[in-house]
């Protein structure tokens, strides 16, 4: 399928070939699902909503409910106010959520619908809430959309009501799987600190089987908790792209100090997260976590021969790629191609700094596509490819071992139940990467070279 990709790289100015990102609204929809009893609403035509629901359903293998303003030509010409007002009324009548989280699409953005005004004029039952985020699809990526909807949670909901800040930490986890959110909460809990995580899709998109269809599963950040986030002493934003902006918005709005860290993938980023908690709260790292960390280091020593010097190409969402790259370097691997589809920010300089310190030369690009990544790999082959589902085409074309990480993963299961963050998550990554490399060694070994013990 990719046999047409030429090795010769020329400048392209006419769009993307095989994108490494998607559009803002799906990120906003995912974030909105992380509020308890929330129905996301897409203000635009039906297709966007259908695509986002399908895509999220394929990744999480869970029902994803969201309503749409169902724009037709009339709405596109005369504005979508009437559709949105009808939609708000209908959503509360039919689905009875506590809160509707509306995001825009490129269509409603371009015709210039003024959402705050429309929402003010809508019939909202007493005790119910409507929030919104502007998520034009022609800016940023799904990561920007996630950030924007999380920011809307701060704008609409968070309040500083307590006389004194409470001994609790807000955690904005970024665009990660429910299992990762669970693991981050577990780590914080083991540190003995009360935390408010938002958004929180644990228990929503990895909900257990009950034999019933729960329109609103038990999980998700409670509105009352998001309100109370304004009273916390600290917000930790995990990821500068998906989480930092809402944290700083909360800092400005409610004077809650904001601290941006890497997504806690790998040993160092997990250390940094726990140390930040220890540094800001009266707490100590418990023996249980010391034990986990010790196990991880033990495993890294046991397996370091498998990883050292191996060349890796990695792509995906910027926060995930940045943290994982740091872990790869800690394993002595050489991430020689590093790419995110999300444009802008400090991705390239942050990666460059990591690589410089490790003495690795690499191709690095923010706002790139998989066509470019494939060309890089053609010019400089790698031992391992890490990225979302779409990497499988490159892995097949170039015959490279492949580890699925990030969003979306449409062709495998369980990723949303098993974390990659924390020390346990690092162990899982080691297992996935190590097995991919060793399976390959077994596959390629001549009969006389096949070893039982590796």
């Amino acid at each position: 399928m990719l046999d047409c990709t030429p090795a010769n790289i020329v400048q392209r100015s006419g769009g993307a070939i095989n994108p490494a990102k998607t559009c803002q609204p799906i990120g906003a929809m995912y974030a909105a699902l992380g509020i308890h009893r929330c129905l996301p609403h897409s203000h635009g035509s039906q297709g966007c909503c259908a695509y986002h629901r399908s895509h999220l359903t394929r990744h999480f293998r869970e029902p994803v409910l969201a309503a749409s303003s169902s724009f037709t030509e009339g709405a596109s010409i005369f504005g979508g106010a009437a559709n949105l007002k009808t939609a708000i009324k209908n959503v509360f009548t039919i689905y009875n959520p506590d809160i509707i989280a509306i995001h825009t699409t490129c269509l409603s953005e371009t015709i210039g619908d003024d959402l705050p005004t429309i929402i003010k004029g809508a019939e909202i039952p007493p005790g119910k809430l409507v929030i919104h985020a502007n998520t034009p699809s022609y800016q940023g990526s799904h990561i920007t959309g996630f950030s924007n909807m999380t920011r809307a949670m701060v704008s609409y909901l968070a309040e500083a009501t307590a006389a004194q800040k409470k001994e609790q930490v807000n955690i904005i986890p970024g665009f990660v799987n429910p299992a990762d959110m669970r693991e981050i909460k577990r780590l914080t809990g083991l540190m003995g600190i009360r935390s408010i995580m938002f958004p929180d899709t644990a228990g929503v998109l990895d909900a257990p089987m009950t034999g019933k269809f729960e329109m609103y599963p038990a999980g998700g950040a409670k509105v009352a908790d998001i309100r109370d986030a304004g009273n916390s002493r600290l917000t930790i934003a995990l990821g500068s792209y998906a989480a930092s902006d809402p944290a700083h918005h909360l800092e400005r709005k409610c004077r809650v100090r904001a601290l941006t860290l890497k997504t806690p993938i790998g040993i160092k980023a997990t250390d940094d997260f726990l140390l930040a908690l220890r540094g800001h709260f009266a707490c100590a790292v418990p023996a249980e976590l010391e034990e986990e960390r010790g196990q991880l280091v033990d495993i890294m020593i046991d397996t370091h021969h498998h990883f050292f010097g191996k060349k890796v190409a990695i792509f995906g969402d910027p926060d995930i790629v940045l943290a994982t790259t740091e872990f790869l370097l800690d394993l002595g691997m050489r991430p020689v191609h590093v790419l995110t589809g999300t444009p802008g920010g400090d991705f390239e300089s942050a990666i460059a700094a990591l690589l410089r310190e490790a003495g690795v030369e690499a191709n690095v690009r923010a706002g790139g596509d998989l066509f470019l990544l494939h060309q890089w790999i053609k010019n400089q082959p790698v031992d391992l490819l890490i990225g979302n589902t779409y990497g499988k085409y490159i892995a097949r074309a170039e015959d490279i071992p492949f580890v699925r990480l990030g969003f979306p993963i449409l062709d495998r299961g369980l990723h949303s139940y098993l974390p990659v963050v924390g020390y346990r998550g690092a162990m899982r990554l080691l297992e996935m990467m190590g097995n991919a490399l060793l399976d390959r060694a077994d596959r390629d070994a001549a009969d006389e070279d096949l070893e039982l013990v590796m």
């Binding site: 799906i26 035509s45 293998r61 724009f71 209908n90 269509l107 990526s141 019933k212």
Partner: protein, 466 residues
């Protein structure tokens, strides 16, 4: 939420879209816009157009708009190719804010130039997305200039998402196809035993099955629209002597157009289930008025039916008496599925479509038993309600319906683009029977309703029995 009798529906407007056979006066509202705020399972115009055109394997399918529309349609349709794979890539003009303000025509022209240079395709489709309709890029003009410059066909697809629903996208795709196949220098000479096959997208290789049946009848499959089609094969479309139409929803318009302009008559067919497959083969054979063809059709039907009879029978033994719900895209498929379920001893108790047409609902209504609920543009809450009310054991649908069924503890079969084996023809009927069996009879459902190990007597249960 109890809203049986349909008058108690939370949104009164929805009542007209739902009908229970035998309990109400016949009549169902359909072919209308969705109600804002309902969780519709429908998609948009672009989606409809892309579904139909994407299986053309050697074309560049360039999506003119922000990145999302191209990302979501990157190789998720499962249409197989016997050769080129260019269609499996995702091409987007990836419009940014600047392009939206100043117009995207220049970027589009650059994108076409660069893609043509890189891939040398015989054909480029350029799809308009919502935003292109709003900012008013002149797709027609950009495509015309590009076509002249590169000496290939560059065809605009007017598929702005908001301009109707998925059915409007089918129309847009048919319009684009017509531009491609309309014979420029007069009608080609008709090939007497040559058939076009419309409305099959070669999911899991289904076109190849039907193609082999035609061959066994002594007929030639001229070109399929659009499964495994190429630029070259489509150019010869007007030479066929008959069009057969599987997915009427998407291809009816083109079949009419070809009848009117090329003088090619068409037959609506269905290759879903034994009954419809056999019936379709007989009608195709009869059309040619040749005794030998009819003879071969009978032999084929007898041979193939016998080949799968064992599978069907053994599945039927396990499945008889079960109740199914159907929620699919178009009405024609729903009709076939009801008959196919009957072959397996399964009653369809709920049936709905995204974009069914009035005549199709009339046929559906004739076909089902009293008490069956028929609904257009259903939302998940309605599907849940009626599946539970009617005691369905199984749902047939697409990607968004799957987890809904599972959460209810119901079996599920994908009859959309996530299918992994062909469901067409005799072999498809056997595959379908096996798949229904594998999901309905899986031991996993046992655990939905069993007590928590070690729970005190009469205490916690994983889930209340349905």
């Amino acid at each position: 939420m109890a809203f049986s009798g349909h008058t108690e529906l939370p949104v009164a407007e929805r009542a007209a879209f739902i009908y229970t056979k035998g309990r109400q006066k016949p009549g169902l509202k359909c072919e209308a816009d969705s109600i804002a705020g309902c969780v519709s399972q429908r998609a948009c115009v672009y989606c409809g157009a892309r579904v139909v055109l994407n299986p053309i394997t050697d074309a560049v399918h360039l999506v003119h708009g922000p990145i999302g529309c191209a990302s979501y349609t990157w190789d998720i349709r499962g249409a197989l190719s016997s050769g080129p794979e260019l269609y499996r890539n995702s091409f987007s003009t990836d419009l940014k804010e600047r392009d939206v303000i100043f117009g995207g025509e220049k970027k589009l022209a650059r994108a076409i130039d660069q893609l043509v240079e890189k891939y040398r395709p015989p054909l480029v489709f350029v799809y308009a997305t919502c935003i292109v309709g709003v900012i008013g890029d002149d797709l027609e003009a950009v495509c015309r200039v590009a076509a002249r410059k590169h000496g290939i066909e560059v065809i605009p697809v007017q598929s702005s998402g908001f301009a109707g629903n998925k059915a409007a996208g089918y129309r847009a795709a048919c319009a684009a196809l017509w531009r491609l196949i309309e014979p420029a220098g007069g009608m080609p000479e008709k090939k007497s035993l040559s058939v076009n096959y419309l409305g099959d997208f070669n999911l899991a290789g289904e076109v190849w099955i039907v193609g082999s049946y035609l061959k066994q009848l002594g007929l030639e499959l001229n070109v399929a629209f659009t499964g495994d089609a190429t630029y070259r094969s489509l150019k010869n479309a007007a030479a066929a002597s008959l069009n057969i139409v599987q997915c009427a929803g998407s291809m009816h318009y083109l079949a009419e157009k070809m009848q009117e302009s090329c003088g090619i008559p068409y037959l609506n067919v269905s290759f879903l289930g034994l009954e419809d497959t056999a019936d379709s083969l007989r009608r195709i054979a009869r059309f040619f008025g040749d005794h030998r063809i009819e003879q071969r059709a009978e032999e084929l039907i007898a041979r193939e039916t016998a080949a799968v009879a064992g599978v069907i029978q053994s599945c039927r033994k396990k499945l008889a008496g079960k109740r199914a719900a159907v929620y699919v895209g178009g009405g024609f498929k729903a009709i076939s599925l009801i008959k196919q379920f009957r072959e397996l001893g399964i009653d369809v108790v709920v049936v709905g479509t995204q974009t069914g047409r009035r005549q199709e609902y009339a046929v559906l209504s004739e076909l089902v038993d009293n008490g069956t609920v028929i609904l257009d543009d259903a939302n998940p809450a309605e599907l849940e309600k009626f599946m539970l009310e009617k005691g369905a054991h199984l749902l047939v649908g697409g990607v968004k319906e799957r987890p809904l069924a599972y959460k209810l503890g119901l079996a599920f079969v994908d009859h959309n683009h996530d299918r992994k084996h062909p469901l067409s023809g005799f072999i498809g009927a056997a595959n379908f029977a096996r798949e229904v069996c594998s999901t309905v009879c899986s031991p996993v459902w046992r655990y939905v309703h069993t007590p928590v190990p070690g729970a005190r007597a009469g205490g916690a249960v994983w889930a209340a029995a349905l």
